[in-house]
């Protein structure tokens, strides 16, 4: 009575969904005007951001409410670097700053700026992870502490006006340039999509390794993992730093595509939005995070035009419905739906 491996059966379905998603993203520019292409190019970095949340929450069970911290820092460093590489940003000039402040001098080199936009969030996450993810602080307390970090950063960004532009943010950020040529809206769309596809491929490869299994094991039974001999803290810190790098990269793409950054990119509401995208799509499949992000952001942009702020209410209702009716998320449920086997498992669980 050898049972088929349910995980193996998932693979074609997941691949089919990924192909569907990729086709949609590739063909989208053919069906839409420049304005819509630009909007979509802003959603794709958020999909990468959703991947980073899924790695941390969906695969490892760490629910960080501060994932916007690396995203926001990445976005800000990229934006400031882009500004100071061509001169003194106007917001600094209003404070009488006539030369690039010493802390920003390394950012005048765009390549170094890009590297620092990823390295600094990683370093910060490494320090926070080492202190926070030792096993002494768990579950909801990790969420609370990361939430506090998110708020602290947003306050800092809001108040350091001389350096960050305060609540106005940093403006006049140019789109990415390749070989001295600033990408057009459509080129940028495909550039962002390419990076996102690469990010997805790396995440998919990473989660299919034995390391991915260890992370899954930490999610369901952290203690047992330690008693097998794994240093749980190292694994958690690794995935925390890795997902921070991913979030920072998403932040860079977002900043360069939007042309501006504002303090809300570092705050709690973005972190929570990402958690909702992943919850709606389904945790721990990567594909679920991508779909959830695309679906809710698409809906948001359509609905906000029609019903305005009431959209927030709609999203709350959607979340409640998902949590109560399909706790595995939309894609998660599609991927794991196995009516017969599921019934069997329930029966066996009852017997056991």
């Amino acid at each position: 009575m050898k049972k088929p491996n349910p995980r193996l059966k998932n693979i074609p379905r997941r691949a089919a969904m990924n192909v569907l998603l990729l086709t949609f993203i590739l063909l989208y520019p053919l069906t839409a005007g420049l304005y819509r292409i630009d909007i979509m190019a802003k959603v794709i970095p958020l999909m990468v951001f959703a991947l980073s949340v899924d790695l941390l929450w969906g695969y490892t069970g760490i629910m960080s409410l501060g994932q916007a911290v690396p995203f926001g820092i990445g976005a800000y460093i990229a934006a400031i670097s882009n500004n100071v590489s061509v001169g003194i940003p106007s917001y600094m000039r209003t404070y009488g700053i006539t030369e690039v402040p010493a802390v920003f001098r390394p950012l005048t080199n765009p390549y170094l700026g890009m590297a620092l936009a990823i390295l600094i969030p990683c370093l910060l996450s490494f320090v926070i992870g080492r202190l926070l993810l030792t096993g002494k602080v768990r579950g909801v307390f990790v969420s609370l502490i990361t939430m506090a970090l998110s708020n602290v950063l947003m306050l800092a960004v809001n108040n350091a006006q001389r350096f960050t532009g305060g609540s106005n943010g940093v403006n006049n950020v140019s789109r990415p340039s390749l070989f001295g040529h600033v990408l057009s809206i459509t080129e940028n769309y495909y550039f962002v999509a390419l990076i996102a596809a690469l990010a997805f491929a790396v995440c998919a490869a990473l989660t299919s390794t034995k390391l991915g299994k260890v992370l899954g094991a930490i999610k369901v039974n952290e203690n047992r993992v330690a008693f097998i001999g794994y240093n749980v803290t190292s694994y958690k810190v690794f995935i925390y730093v890795f997902s921070s790098a991913l979030a920072a990269m998403a932040g860079i793409l977002y900043a360069r595509t939007c042309g501006m950054v504002s303090p809300s990119l570092t705050g709690l509401s973005l972190s929570i939005s990402a958690i909702i995208w992943v919850a709606v799509g389904g945790r721990g499949h990567l594909t679920g995070a991508l779909f959830g992000c695309l679906l809710l952001n698409g809906l948001e942009r359509i609905m906000a035009g029609i019903i305005g702020d009431a959209w927030e209410l709609v999203i709350g209702v959607i979340l409640l419905l998902i949590v109560f009716c399909v706790p595995d998320g939309l894609v998660g449920t599609l991927l794991t739906a196995r009516p017969k086997v599921k019934g069997l498992q329930k029966k066996e669980a009852a017997n056991g």
Binding site: R7, T209, F227, Y230, V232
Partner: protein
């Protein structure tokens, strides 16, 4: 004992004034099967928590295979020193297959980088097959652990401890919730696994203790009450009064 693999020297665990383990000294010989019995709350599980690093002791010293493991973290005791532990009640990764549970436990590198580039080898396959045979789950390697019976889950965990290739295996009430038949099979597994290992079993089931035990240690109220062969213990009047009569 001349060749002791594990020595507890005067260890005490203090839970806010309650001495769960009270100056216990215990010596387990290399290759021995030691059974620890005692009423509920006697301190058996705490003693095991102590050896595996889950609970921190207040006084005393623990030496394993020549190394001082007092207050070392659990993952180090498990990997570097080689003490494997089966928890009370099945404690597995329930949403993974039996094979993956064993693969995770299999002795190998526990470093992050090594596990990103890890590849299964034929050797891995054959080691896991051996374990599957020993725990009698050859035909269920792809089943999710959550779909197994209670007894089978316990065996998966015994298999995980075997896969760790530990020098000392500690089994905390391995037969809880098993049928008489399953309990007997578990006893046979333990006899089969003792070849090159030292085993400590904490247990309630006296038939099972008789089946596997060489030396029996009886605990009561955090202290060691008696130690001896199964027959000696069974006839010890003190033991009878606190435990066996129940």
């Amino acid at each position: 004992m001349a060749d002791a693999i594990l020595e507890l020297m005067d260890v005490t665990v203090d839970f806010k004034g309650f001495l769960a383990v009270d100056s216990v000294s215990l010596s387990v010989g290399r290759g021995e099967v030691r059974t620890i019995i005692g009423p509920n709350g006697a301190g058996k599980s705490t003693l095991i928590d102590l050896i595996t690093g889950k609970t921190r002791l207040k006084f005393g010293k623990i030496v394993f295979d020549g190394a001082d493991i007092t207050l070392r973290p659990p993952h180090e005791i498990a990997h570097a020193h080689g003490i494997g532990r089966k928890f009370q009640g099945p404690n597995t990764f329930f949403d993974m297959s039996v094979f993956d549970n064993l693969l995770l436990a299999l002795r190998g590198s526990t470093r992050v980088r090594k596990n990103i580039f890890y590849r299964k080898t034929g050797d891995t396959r054959s080691k896991i097959n051996d374990i599957l045979k020993l725990i009698g789950l050859e035909d269920k390697e792809d089943a999710l652990v959550s779909a197994l019976s209670y007894g089978e889950k316990q065996w998966v965990e015994i298999g995980m401890v075997l896969a760790q290739d530990a020098k000392l295996v500690i089994l905390d009430e391995p037969t809880t919730g098993m049928t008489a038949d399953e309990t007997y099979k578990t006893g046979e597994m333990i006899r089969a696994m003792r070849k090159d290992r030292t085993i400590i079993v904490s247990e309630h089931d006296m038939d099972f203790v008789r089946q596997v035990a060489e030396t029996v240690t009886v605990m009561n109220q955090g202290k060691i009450l008696a130690e001896g062969t199964f027959e000696e213990i069974r006839q010890n009047p003190e033991v009878i009064s606190v435990y066996l009569k129940e």
